[in-house]
Amino acid sequence: MKKIICALAVLALALLFALPAFAAPPLLTDEAGLLSAAEAAALEEKLQALSDRWDMDVAVVTAASTQGATPMEFADDWFDYNGYGRGENYDGLLLLIHTDKDPPGGWISTCGRAVGVFTDAGIQFIGKQIKADGLDEGDTAAALDSFADWCEKFFAQAETGKPFDEGSLPKTSGDYARIALLGLLGGLGIAWVVTKRMQNSLKTVRKNNQAADYVRPGSLRVVYANERFLYKNVTRVKRETSSGGGGGSSTHTSSSGRTHGGGGF
């Protein structure tokens, strides 16, 4: 661990000295080589525009291995020691894609203002989306493009003062399809019940299989009552664990001493 940090620190220092002080680090680092040159250029341009628009660094790094560190440590250190983050609070976030498992895993590390923009639930939501949008199938370019699009939406939502969080996550097209299907089924079900009742009101002639009207009052006498135990069955169902517990962003302190938010998927 220390070795990596040292190596990164040296790299950071080297960069710091090699480049003019105002030059920002590249927002895309494709260590694992998952993108073509054209894809990388397009994505970097998009990330740059995004970062400038919201004054927050939006960085992406792909790595073949986290080199013994946890994805959280790796992502936090990459962010801290490469000089990402804008302003005195180092506002920004970094998406790490690590291909040491199949399908690839991811970690989003947030810092400064980005901690509030990307809540725990929000990070899980983005993770789910980019996995579905290509990460699981090996189309990293599409997944990262989707990541940039979602970041845009999250920034815009946070501007309103109510960032996406537990219970207020954005709806995907799949969600809309499911809501529409449920609405359709609900409508058909209710229509069936209502018209069935109308139809039933037309029918008043029915067989009466009971003679309850003719029971002699007080004639029911139970002279023998008994119960015999037969058997017992126990079934168990795993309880749905309520995730988050109210939403918000949880934070931790990275090796550099800065406060980060984040989450993996």
Partner: protein, 364 residues
């Protein structure tokens, strides 16, 4: 040959009929009214009278042709009344005078009781009007063009079964216990056999004894209130139609048994309490003893035809309970279905949209 019975007004000799409103016999000609009991003596006088002996026309009918038919001569106008062999009271088609076929109630055929009509023809027509209200799928044309072809007050023969039942029943019942431990929710289901034995009595379970009356229709106008029953007097029948039974007590018993058995089951099942579910699981229900009685119950029948189909309505002549199936407007059904589906669908969409953050995670 059976004789006809016609009640004549002691005042003007006009034919008199039972009036449901006053519960007396009324003369439509001179306006006099007479208590049923007062005419009891007259009933007895009449019963001593000799039956008129008519010679059957020789060789006019081929064999089997007259089966199920009866011919009477009206005592007022002499007109010939041809009717079903089971008809017990009717009107003369020529002079409209109400007549009662006395022979239909002689000896073993004499009903034990009668529940007189309490509601008149006007009430039956008003009940039909009301019956057609608030039926959204009823074709509008049916309501507007609804001409009742005929309204008949009929005394329907019923067999009444009194029964004492002995039951030994078994039920399968389950108790549930739920608790949580660790990450799991547990449900424990304890299953028991529950036994119930005992007795229950039924009074006057009715089964209609007329093959002409649809059983479903008659079971739908039940129940009749026995408190309104009176000893049988033919005078009650004057002015109405009446049938004698043509399904005997033995044949009708099966239907009574079915109903008594299922109600016995239900009554004992209701005593099995303290469980989360109870289902019948066999046992036996036996008849300890039973008696059968024969009674006439009052029913108004209304017939109408619409688009070549016959619709029959029935009203309980004592309580006013009105039944009768109505036709459905398929176009209206489709319009309502689509309209409700659209409205409810939009509401359901909005609801799911709002609660999605809480339920979305539980759906595939």
């Amino acid at each position: 040959m059976p004789a006809l019975l016609e009640y004549k007004c002691p005042n003007c000799a006009g034919a008199i009929a039972f009036d449901s409103a006053s519960q007396q016999l009324e003369c439509p000609f001179c306006g006099c009214s007479f208590a049923v009991e007062a005419l009891k003596a007259m009933d007895e006088d009449l019963s001593t009278q000799q039956a008129l002996d008519w010679d059957a026309p020789a060789g006019q009918w081929s064999q089997g042709e007259t089966e199920g038919m009866a011919v009477y001569a009206c005592q007022s106008c002499g007109g010939e009344i041809v009717c079903d062999a089971t008809t017990a009271a009717t009107k003369c088609p020529y002079c409209e005078n109400p007549v009662v076929m006395r022979g239909q109630f002689a000896g073993a055929l004499r009903p034990d009781a009668v529940i007189p009509f309490r509601l008149d023809k006007k009430a039956a027509k008003a009940a039909l009007e009301k019956h057609l209200l608030k039926k959204r799928l009823l074709p509008k044309a049916f309501r507007d063009q609804n001409h009742i072809d005929e309204v008949k007050g009929v005394y329907v023969p019923f067999w009444l079964y009194d029964a004492d039942m002995d039951a030994n029943l078994r039920f399968k019942a389950a108790k549930l216990r739920r608790w949580s431990s660790g990450n799991y929710d547990y449900t424990e289901t304890s299953t028991y056999y529950v036994y119930r034995g005992g007795k229950i009595g039924f009074d006057r379970v009715p089964v209609d004894g007329s093959s002409k009356m649809p059983d479903e229709l008659m079971e739908s106008v039940e129940p009749f209130d026995w408190a309104g029953a009176a000893d049988f007097r033919t005078a009650y029948l004057a002015g109405y139609l009446a049938d004698k039974y043509d399904v005997d007590a033995g044949a009708s018993r099966e239907r009574a048994n079915e109903r008594i058995r299922s109600s016995t089951q239900a009554a004992f099942a209701a005593t099995v309490t303290g469980y989360d579910s109870v289902t019948p699981d066999g046992g036996c229900v036996n008849l300890l003893g039973g008696t059968v009685r024969y009674a006439l119950y009052p029913v108004w029948l209304l017939n109408t035809a619409w688009q070549g189909k016959k619709f029959t309505f029935a009203m309980n002549g004592q309580t006013g309970k009105f039944v009768g199936d109505l036709p459905m407007d398929k176009g209206a059904f489709a319009r309502w279905f689509v309209g409700v589906a659209l409205g409810a669908g939009a509401a359901a969409f909005a609801l799911f949209y709002l609660i999605w953050p809480w339920i979305g995670g539980y759906l595939p």
